[in-house]
Subunit: 193 residues, 2 copies
């Protein structure tokens, strides 16, 4: 449901085609919302069905036609209503933490490899997050509102804070493993002895 309003939020800045929206998503909110292109197209379809957006076909020679979507007054009203409403709290579902929860069933070597990979992954994510300001730069100029920029940066800040926390947490497990601070597997393995 939030994708609908994310798209609406972007359309409230300026008209977009689905293809351009995908770029906008990838360069601005990738740290908290990864949007599939097909999902964006489906959402745009729903928005125009509801009358929350209007479509204009822009013909291009040498390139496929573009469909420019523009937010309607009804769309703006719906967006405002949603933004003023309660937080869309979703139940958490973390696959990685499921693995961590049951990691005690694996030997140290496997756990070590897993957390080393996780730490690398977190470091990579952090680096990508650090590039977000440059990536949104053109949009910051286009929208040209310090207030918007403040909240955009706030979402990035939270992403970096939590990613940093996850990295530190994984590194702590790695240290515990090195120092023998993780209780050992009771039955060393099964089979040979």
């Amino acid at each position: 449901m939030s994708l609908e309003y994310a798209v609406l939020g972007f359309l409230n800045y300026q008209p977009f085609s689905g293809y351009d929206l995908k770029k906008m998503f990838d360069s601005s909110v990738q740290h908290f919302w990864v949007a599939d292109l097909s999902q964006i197209y489906r959402t745009l379809g729903k928005l125009s069905e509801k009358g929350w957006a209007s479509v204009e076909v822009v013909e291009q020679s040498e390139r496929p036609d573009r469909k420019l979507y523009r937010i309607t007054p009804q769309g703006q009203a719906a967006l405002r209503e949603w933004l003023a409403g309660p937080f869309p709290t979703a139940a958490p579902h973390s696959g990685p933490l499921v693995q961590v929860f049951f990691s005690g069933q694996m030997p140290d070597a496997v756990v070590q490899a897993k957390f080393a990979a996780a730490a690398d992954l977190f470091r990579g994510m952090l680096e990508r997050y650090q590039q977000v300001p440059q990536q949104v730069q053109p949009y910051v100029h286009q929208v040209d509102s310090p207030r918007e920029t403040y909240f955009w940066m706030k979402t990035l800040e939270l992403g970096m804070l939590t990613m940093q926390a996850q990295l530190l947490w994984a590194e702590q497990v790695l240290r515990d493993l090195e120092q023998g601070a993780v209780p050992p597997l009771d039955p060393p393995q099964e089979g040979e002895a």
Copy 2:
């Protein structure tokens, strides 16, 4: 997909009925995986279809019959394989952050109310997390493995760290709002003037 392995992970400790699994989920992994009862039943069905779990109907007088699910050797193999495999990285989708991202379109009063509510929500979550150790206590005794307990507690620790970070972050926005550190809305409103 991870739910399947979460259920399998619990079955690897001891046989469970769907109803009891729901209680296990709610008292141990609620901070990173909230499971719907119907979803648990469906997953158990799939597990026994695959031969990863066997079913035993336990008849009870005065209560509905229970279906006790037991992990099979194939199930144990599948679990081990998954646990040793890569992290199941899922694309992030945060509805709340979508709202924050577009909050600049709302006046200060609305934003203030939203972040105050968010901070309250985060505080409530933190309190619930703090009760998890007591809630898992019986299971800690049953499973009786310091190694398992270590990783169980690690997931809780990460949950508390990130929740704490979110709370601090929301309180910072609230302070910015109070101190006028958030850039103002350009067109005060629309309509009257």
